[in-house]
Structures are given as C-alpha cells and as structure tokens.
C-alpha cells in the first residue's frame, strides 16, 4: 500500500531538505519511494510543494500524489496548508507550523492574509495538529532546524524504524548540523506524544 505525504510551505523553509530526509529514511528501511518537486522560478519566495510517496510492500508508479489522495500533509506555513487542503483525503492527518509568513501580495489592495486559517483547516474535517516548529527550533538555538521538528512529529505517524531516521538525518545534513537536528527531531516527536 502506498502512503502519500505532501509537504508544503514557502521557498527557503527547508521543505526539499525535509522531503529528502524522509525519502532517504524510506530507502534505508528498504521501502520503495519516490519524491517530486519543482525547482527554478517557483522557488523565489513562492509556494513550494514536495510530494513523497512510499510503500513497504509494492511499487510506486506516479511521482505525483493523485489528486485528493495525500494521507498526511506537513504544512510549514498555515496559509500554504490551507491552499493545499483539497489535495488531502477527507480523513488525512495535518501537521501545521503555527508561524505565518506573509506573502508580498498582501501589500496589494485586493489581498489580505486571512485571520482564520487554522480554524478553516480544522473545519475541513481533517485531524489537525499545530506544531510550534520554528519556536522550538529557535529555542534550540538553530532556526534552520524547524523543518526537522516537523519531521520528528511526522515520525510518530509512520512505521519507519528510528534507526532509519537517524541514518537519514546523518546522510542528508551537514555534519555540524546533525546534533541540533537530532534534538529538534526528538522535540517534534515529544510534541506529538503530548498532543
């Protein structure tokens, strides 16, 4: 059976790094995995989506998650989570970072950042958990580890062995960044246990 994880947010938030860690953890566990995203113009501060699809027992065909079939969404920014909520199954799990990043378009008269984004996510019927990932990472002294807090939270929803996550983080991150990211991962993990 294929599991579909959609990671969404804003260019520069480490979404592609996070999806690479997840994909490497799947490879290390001996699972089949595909991941897809776009680079280039879309990355200049624009919305970024990364699709990771994996299976412990069979092939994965399409690199794109079929429409409306995301089982889990990791939203690194609330507005981007709301933008993608239609890509999730009706009973999907949604993990959403609470910190907003305001798009430049709100400086134009026709747009504003809605003030009820989290409420609308909740009202969609999916099971939503708010993760203070950036605040946690800042607390650890490394704001760039926010994406790993999100992964730590995600790990509680998957059956990947802890050793696969550990090895994947070590494989993908710069050696100097590993220690703080392992802590960030642990904090994300704990947050879900408490939630």
């Amino acid at each position: 059976m294929v599991t579909n994880v959609l990671l969404t947010g804003v260019g520069g938030q480490g979404i592609i790094t996070a999806s690479t860690v997840l994909s490497q953890a799947c490879r290390i566990a001996g699972w089949e995995v595909k991941k897809s995203e776009v680079h280039g113009m879309s990355q200049r501060g624009g919305s970024v989506n990364s699709y990771v699809r994996f299976s412990a027992d069979g092939p994965v065909a399409s690199p794109l998650i079929p429409e409306g079939a995301a089982d889990i969404m990791l939203a690194f920014e609330p507005l981007e989570g709301l933008r993608q909520i239609g890509e999730c199954t009706p009973d999907a799990r949604v993990l959403v970072e609470e910190r907003r990043i305001v798009p430049v378009t709100v400086n134009l008269p026709e747009f504003s950042y809605p003030d009820n984004v989290l409420e609308r996510l909740q009202a969609s019927g999916r099971r939503v958990t708010v993760i203070p990932a950036m605040a946690t990472a800042v607390d650890l002294g490394e704001s760039r580890a926010a994406n790993t807090v999100m992964l730590g939270a995600l790990a509680t929803l998957l059956e990947l062995p802890e050793s696969a996550w550990d090895e994947a983080l070590r494989a993908v991150l710069r050696p100097k960044a590993v220690e703080v990211n392992l802590q960030a991962f642990e904090r994300g993990h704990e947050m879900m246990a408490e939630a």
Partner: protein, 596 residues
Amino acid sequence: MADTARDLSRTLLLSGNEAIARGAWEAGVRFGSGYPGTPSSEILPALKELGHAYVEWSVNEKVALEAAAGASIAGARCLVTMKHVGLNVAADPLFTLSYTGVAGGLVIISADDPSMHSSQNEQDNRNYARAAKVPMLEPADSQEARDLTMRAFALSEQFDVPVIVRPVTRICHSDGLVEVGERVEVELRAELQPNTRKYVMIPAWARERRVAMAERTAELVALAEATDLNREEMGDRSLGIIASGVAWQYAREAFPEASFLKLGLVWPLPPERIRRFAAQVERLFVVEELDPFLTEQILAMGVAVEAVDERFGLGELTPGRVRAMISGEPAPRAAADEDLPPRPPTLCAGCPHRGVFDALRTIKAYVTGDIGCYTLGTLPPLQALHTCLCMGAGVSQAHGMQKVRGHEAPVVAVIGDSTFTHSGITALVNIAYNAGVSTVVILDNRTTAMTGGQVHPGVGETLSGMPGRELDFEALARAIGIDDVCVVDPYDMAATEQALRAAMASPEPSVVIARRECALMVPAHGPAPALEEDLCIRCGKCIRIGCPALSAFDDGGRRPIPRIDEALCTGCTMCAQVCPVSALKLPTEAEGGGDA
C-alpha cells in the same frame, strides 16, 4: 526494469538528473557540456562530482553541442545537457549532426517542462527527434534515467547518430531508487584522422549522407520492433494504453489493471508491434503529454486510436487527468479557496535588480527583457519589464522598436550577465553596426541566478573549478563599438536613475552595467533598518519597491504602516533610500553616529 528487486547495497536515492549523470559516468563519458536551464541544470554538476570526465558550462547550447561534436569526432563519449528551449539554440548543429553522425557516442539531454514550471513555453521536443531524424529515448523514473542514458551511448555508436534523451520536469526533479554499477572506461574510439565525406557537409557529400540516414532510420525501426526498450505489459485486454515516460506512470497509477505498450524509444516507432498490441485490446488509447506526437503517427499507421479532448494536451498530466481523459469523467480540480492571497515567486529581499527596476519605473521606460530572475520585474508592484520572448531578445527588440519609433521612444533593454554572454553579445554588435541608439542595461549579479547560481564567463571561474578568463563587459562593449559605457551600483538608487537617464538621453547607443552580487550569493550586508514610527507618514513608497522583507501592517492607523521581517532583510538599504522623510533609520544613523 523499474520494479524488479534491487540489490539494496547498490541502491541510491537519486533525482532523475543525478541518475542521468550517473548513467553517463558509468558509460565512460569523457566530455560533458551544456548551459544551465531548469529542469536540466543539476546534471553537469552531478557529473563533475563523480569525476573522470571533463565538464564545462559552455556559453550557450549551440556552442555546447558543437564542442561535443568535436569531442565526439575526436573519439570520446560526450554528454550535452540543456532545457527544451535550449535545443532551439542548438538546433542548427543538431540537424546536420544527424547527417555527419558521430565517432564517440554523443547523447543530448533535452529536459522538457510541461506546465512551464520555469519556462516561457512548453514546446514538445519529441518533434525534434522526428524532424532531425535522430532516435529519442524517454525515461519513466530515475532508474530508467540512468539505464536509458547508458543505452543511448551504445545506440549512438551502433547507429552512428546523436541520440536525444528526453526527461521532463517530473523526471528530472523527482527522486527515486536507482541500482547503480561502476564506471567502465571507454577508450577514445578512433584516431583523429580526416574523414571529409563524413564530416564536411558540402552538398555532394551531404546527399550521400542523406541516403545513409534513410538506411539508418530503417535500421532503427527494425530495432524498435525488437528492442526491450519497448515492452508489452498485458493485463485486462478491455483497455489498452500506449504511453512512454512519466505519462506511462500516471496511466498505470490511474488504470493499474490495463494492458500497456510502454515505449522507451519514442522515435522511431515500431509499426508492427503497435498493430499487434492494438489487435489484442478492445479499446486503445494513447496517453501522452503535450503534442499528439505518438497519436498522429499511430493513426497514420491505420491503427484506430480513440480520440481524447484536446485540452489534455495543455500542461502536464496527472493521474487524475489521465483518468478523466480516458473515462470521460470531469477532470479533478482541487477545491480552491479563492480568497487566499497568492504567493508567486518574487525578487528576493536585497535583490540588486530591484534598484534598476525601481529607477526604470520612475523613468516610465518601456523595458524589453528576457529570461532570468529579472523577468520577475514584470510583476506588481514594480511592473517594470514589458517583454520576455527568448534569451537575448530584449536587446534586439529595443533596437527594432527604436528603428521605427526613434531615439525619443523611452525604450531600455535589460539582460542578465549570464544571458548576455549566452546570446546578448551578437544583438549588441547588431545595434552598433546598424547605427542603433538603444540603451542596454546588463544586470550583472555575477552569477546565473535563476537556475541556482552557476558560473559563467563574466565571473572568471569554470564548472570544473579551474580559473577561467574573465570576460570584461566594459571592454567588450567598447570593442563592439559602444562608446557610452558606464558601471553603476544598483544599491545606489539615485546614481542608478541618473545613469539610466543620461544613457537614454544620449543619441548614441549605450551600455549601463548595473553591478552587484546576487543577494543569495553573499552574506547579509548589515542589520535591518529600524522604523521610527513617529516620522513615518504611511506613504507606502517603501512597500512599493516590492521587497518580501517589507509588509504593510494594519495597526489601526489611517493607512498601513511598514513592518520589516528582520530574518529576511539583508540590509541593502533600498527601502530607506526611497523613504521621503527618512523614517527608516540605518543602524549607524539610529545610534547617532557615522554617515549613511
């Protein structure tokens, strides 16, 4: 190929681009050239990391392919990489290279971009294979990207022909598991001895090669009929699907029970196999992205393929679109929350292009541009770029406009530094030679920014890490015959506007070089300015430079007040420069010391 059991100890997670580099490396490639272009840009750097092969960023795709043609005649296996529109630039050598053929295997990667994620058009480069009569392979995942690249080298040498491998964005920028092998060294294939009837395409010898090409195509059709590059996967025979590449992945996701004729070789096609497959299934569809390339050829074989709505030829496919295409059900559309503010790509905080575009907006110039980060200058609030056709076109367009509208027309061309070396130089020669009057701004941010920061001749470094001769833009412009050349720092907004006004006022052609490193390539210049709220008159001028570090915040006052995101701000000071009341204080000013 794709789903067989793997040896986990030799299995890597690779993007399609990394897998292409890996395949070329294992196949003993000795020469790699190309020009950056999304989604192809990561292939050559990955090949460089693997080692053994000479690699270079050439100045453009035509030069890259010609250099590879030389290396091939000299006996080496060669890889040339580009995006789909890059093959337009390289089309001239491609068509005749099909006549001359190769010595060392020559593989061209044409990375297509259905849906135009990062492109100005979504042309279907399968048409080039047919037009130039060169075989084309289409990988369906990272494993095939490696495998088919290796096969392409063998085919190139076996059939004396360049071979195109066509991945699309969803192959290039998707990661998958790849079982890899080791590099096999391939010696230079031939002595470098003249073989003029093969490599000098004067009409008499080209006519001979034309005949040889026809024979070669017949042999390639015979290969297509027999090869395991194409394969039949018979399932439920009530539905048969012919597909290749990522479209095959979407089709088998949508219809896992169907029967498939999966093509790895998309030109030339195997008519007998297609007829045989068609005879075994009740309904027959072709699932392909963009042009009806396979469909029209299969229909021409007299095989009845069911028609699909033409709108499926626009943009990339998805599993849901393929389901809709075949079932006739409505295409899925995610319920859009239409009140959400869009988040388009934007010029970065601290982007030096902002200084130029702000000045051009103030001057009310008609700005001809082209492809690069600076194309984003067309978006609100700057809206200071008014054409984007192809690389180099803005320089020529400005010339054309002023030939019919005169020097008085407030036309300015802008072009990035890498793009200028790619295809702006000849356009500038044309202005000087034909007594043009245009002002050309070279946006010199010392990198190829949009594609991820590749080096180019103006930087003086090469892909291989060796120092390169730095192209001197000022001296080049003067040598071309442009006497009015100046250099400005686009962070100095007053000086930039003044330089542009002076250049436009001059009846001579002029070049303004706006030189400042890309904000992504250098550390922040300083801390963020601090807003003195009492001084701020809420005029919105700072907001209108379109910096993502600045947002208009409704604090209940009569108009919104600017807020600075200190995490994004690079300390470029442009917002402080446009403030009419000096309410945005630079750190030195705020502390009451130093000059700004």
